[in-house]
């Protein structure tokens, strides 16, 4: 062991806690300035009726909140956001798990293909949205044309992915699912690698079929991994904006108008920043509550168990 003596003059040693604090300080300052301060402005603005072009600003207490809650559009947008998140996360999970199992069953030889599977992560949501709009659009989209050619559809006009209000929400979810299934499959694949072989062997000896294996052994063992992936992706799905905006801008007939879009349009197109701020505040509160619950119930126990 070498001695510290003789190498350089002794430095003033601040405590470890101070040091850690200093390390975190720049990032904290940035977040305080660029996140917390705008958030504060947001909360303040939500109590005012603001008309930027007329230049007026009047205090209205909880007026904006009341307007939003009474507005069917807002309530429906909230419901739709939930629907959209449910669709996206469920599909991603199912498809991602399927892909992960597929890769696992085929072993190390599939590594190259696993890498190829990653590519959609790099694509911008705006690009993905435009691309899928192009694929699904009535009259010009190639998906219906191909489906009709192979006989799944009786004619290319049978399904109007983006113009039928009943299925539009599902259709705009497709690019989101396409983009992030590979992330899910990657995460789940890594989790699958960590499953102890002896547990699997024991189950096999006991005569467990593939279904039993999946529901009884694999999914329970993957629980912490699944939990983290679902929480992360759930948060991202709720925030989804670019993909939906570029495909349908909320239409047809508000069928794809999620909270993000409603807030954006209220702020910019209808020039009502006060109302939009109130909507955003409510949105954030709900998100926070849900996330805190999810983290408490799923993530932290996993951590403590380690």
């Amino acid at each position: 062991m070498r001695h510290a003596l003789g190498r350089r003059p002794a430095r003033l040693k601040i405590s470890d806690r101070r040091f850690a604090f200093l390390l975190m300080l720049p990032a904290c300052l940035f977040l305080a300035a660029f996140v917390l301060w705008p958030l504060l402005r947001l909360v303040i603005d939500s109590f005012f009726q603001i008309s930027p072009l007329a230049g007026t600003r009047s205090f209205t207490g909880l007026g904006n909140y009341r307007t939003a809650l009474e507005s069917a559009r807002f309530r429906n947008a909230a419901l739709r956001t939930l629907e959209y998140t449910a669709i996206v996360v469920t599909m991603e999970f199912v498809l991602g798990l399927g892909a992960a199992l597929l890769f696992t069953a085929l072993g190390e030889r599939s590594r190259l293909l696993r890498t190829a599977f990653l590519y959609p992560l790099m694509i911008a949501p705006v690009v993905a949205g435009l691309l899928w709009r192009y694929l699904l659009i009535d009259n010009f989209g190639i998906v219906n044309s191909l489906l009709a050619r192979i006989g799944v559809l009786s004619s290319p006009g049978q399904i109007s992915w983006l113009s039928d209000p009943h299925i539009a929400l599902f259709s705009v979810a497709l690019p989101d699912i396409w983009l992030t299934t590979s992330f899910m499959s990657l995460v789940l694949y890594a989790g699958l690698q960590n499953i102890p072989p002896d547990v699997v062997e024991a189950a096999r000896i006991d005569g467990a079929g593939p279904v039993r294996m999946l529901t009884g052994i694999i999914v329970p063992l993957l629980r912490p991994v699944i939990a983290v992936a679902l929480i992360v992706r759930g948060i991202d799905a709720v925030k989804a904006f670019d993909v939906i905006l570029i495909q349908t801008n909320g239409g047809p007939q508000d069928a794809t108008n999620t909270l993000s879009l409603l807030i954006y349009n209220t702020m910019t197109s209808y020039s009502q920043p006060g109302l939009a701020s109130a909507m955003s505040v409510m949105y954030l509160i709900v998100m926070l509550a849900v996330a805190v619950v999810a983290v408490r119930m799923i993530w932290l126990p996993g951590r403590r168990a380690r």
């Binding site: 072009l53 009535d138 009259n139 109007s160 910019t268």
Partner: protein
């Protein structure tokens, strides 16, 4: 990830301290140099000889020759920044509201003027009697909000009827049409003739026309053709969206798709770009579209050279259209107001230059008259006819118009494109929504 070190020497980092600082320094300088942004011209402070104009794609086309000539004659560089339609609205709206302006002149849609008017400069000094005489009355009036002129018309547009001349002039088709309907085949002038022609030409993979569920101005034109004293609101601001003419117009508009099936599927999402593409590809025999389409048909399109233009069809009140003008406006708090006014005057003086551009439109009657009747400008006479029709009226000047369009008009039209739609019921429901906005 366990790392076992056999030696006691910590591994040498790839980048020494000095190298790191040097790299950081260079990166910092480079970042500062390019941190402002690679695009656009200088920030154009007051008094410099440059002018910033924001517009959308049509405006970009129309103003490019004007800008070039302005530079040649006055030495001032005019930077035209093109934004998509929605983006232009957001940009102008937020900048006028916040006061941090990135433009000196904006070429904006007529329907935005009521909302932006409080923050726009008055242009009254430009509106001499001679200037006013050469502009269409509706277009002139639309630019006047609250007693002051806040926009100078840059170019105006209206929907006319486009049809496939080769089909309408084909003897075989004419014979078959006469046999079926009992009168000569000609570009339709009434609603009934339009429906007949559309039904007749829906055959062999082609459709008679398109039905646009994603945009509202065409429906509004039909409302005027039915004889309504206004669209959505009347001249006093009362809500008339559920009057008899609106119901009739909606019935005519949507039945083409619902009942007669003369339009391609997915009507609810068909807007201008889709209708344009369908017509270019030869999928529709007729289309009601903005007049500028005529000179934009690409030479590679299958319909090139086979397109005829007629005035917009007429209802019981005759021909009517909704004018779609764009205005040049100046922010009230702008730093370059004098130069902006000079440019706008110049643009008016050379308004005819716009006709030579890809959009091919102007605002002044004299500019249109100069070219009407000349080969290649067959769309101008129908345009002038439609714009001058007595029933033609501009949209109401209300600040909530965009909201009315987005939240009431377009959804109502889309809802009406379902089988068994109750047109009167939908419009009654719309009445309540409009009421809450105005």
């Amino acid at each position: 990830m366990k790392i076992i070190r056999t030696s006691e020497e910590p591994p040498r980092p790839a980048l020494s301290r000095r190298g790191f600082l040097q790299a950081a320094g260079v990166a910092g300088v480079a970042a500062a140099a390019t941190a402002c942004g690679a695009g656009g011209g200088s920030s154009g402070s007051a008094g410099s000889s440059s002018l910033r104009v924001v517009c959308e794609s049509g405006g970009f086309a129309e103003l490019t020759p004007v800008a070039a000539l302005f530079k040649k004659q006055t030495g001032t560089t005019v930077t035209l920044t093109q934004l998509p339609y929605d983006g232009l609205f957001s940009r102008v709206s937020s900048e006028l509201g916040s006061g941090a302006l990135s433009f000196d002149v904006a070429a904006i849609d007529a329907i935005w003027l009521p909302q932006f008017a409080p923050k726009l400069a008055a242009l009254d000094e430009l509106f001499t009697p001679a200037v006013k005489a050469d502009l269409f009355p509706a277009t002139l009036d639309e630019g006047q909000i609250g007693g002051r002129y806040v926009g100078m018309p840059g170019w105006t547009n209206v929907e006319v009827l486009f049809y496939r001349r080769d089909l309408f002039e084909s003897p075989a088709e004419q014979k078959a049409f006469k046999a079926r309907y009992g009168y000569d085949l000609a570009p339709p002038a009434t609603w009934q003739q339009f429906t007949d022609a559309a039904r007749f030409f829906t055959k062999g993979g082609m459709y008679g026309t398109d039905v646009k569920g994603d945009v509202e101005t065409e429906f509004l034109a039909h409302v005027l053709q039915a004889g309504s004293p206004g669209v959505v609101l009347d001249s006093t601001g009362a809500v008339i969206i559920d009057n008899a003419q609106h119901v009739k117009a909606l019935e005519f508009y949507s039945s083409l798709s619902n009942q007669y099936k003369v339009a391609p599927s997915g009507a609810a999402q068909v807007g201008w770009p889709e209708a344009q593409n369908l017509f270019y590809q030869g999928k529709t025999a007729m289309t009601r579209f903005w007049a500028h389409l005529y000179r934009q048909i690409p030479s590679t399109a299958s319909v090139y050279g086979k397109v005829g233009v007629a005035p917009m069809i007429g209802g019981s009140a005759g021909i009517a259209g909704i004018p779609g003008p764009f205005y040049l406006s100046v922010p009230a708090k702008g730093a370059n107001t004098d130069l902006a006014l000079k440019f706008i005057q110049f643009a008016y003086d050379h308004n005819a230059l716009g006709i030579g551009t890809s959009l091919g439109l102007a605002a002044r009657k004299s500019a249109f008259a100069q070219y009407a009747g000349k080969p290649g400008y067959e769309s101008f006479t129908p345009l002038l006819t439609t714009l001058s029709a007595p029933a033609t009226r501009s949209r109401p000047k209300t600040a909530g118009w965009q909201q009315i369009v987005d939240t009431v008009l377009v959804p109502t039209i889309q809802k009406s494109l379902t089988p068994n739609a109750d047109f009167a019921g939908l419009l009654s429901a719309a009445r309540g929504s409009v009421q809450s906005i105005v």
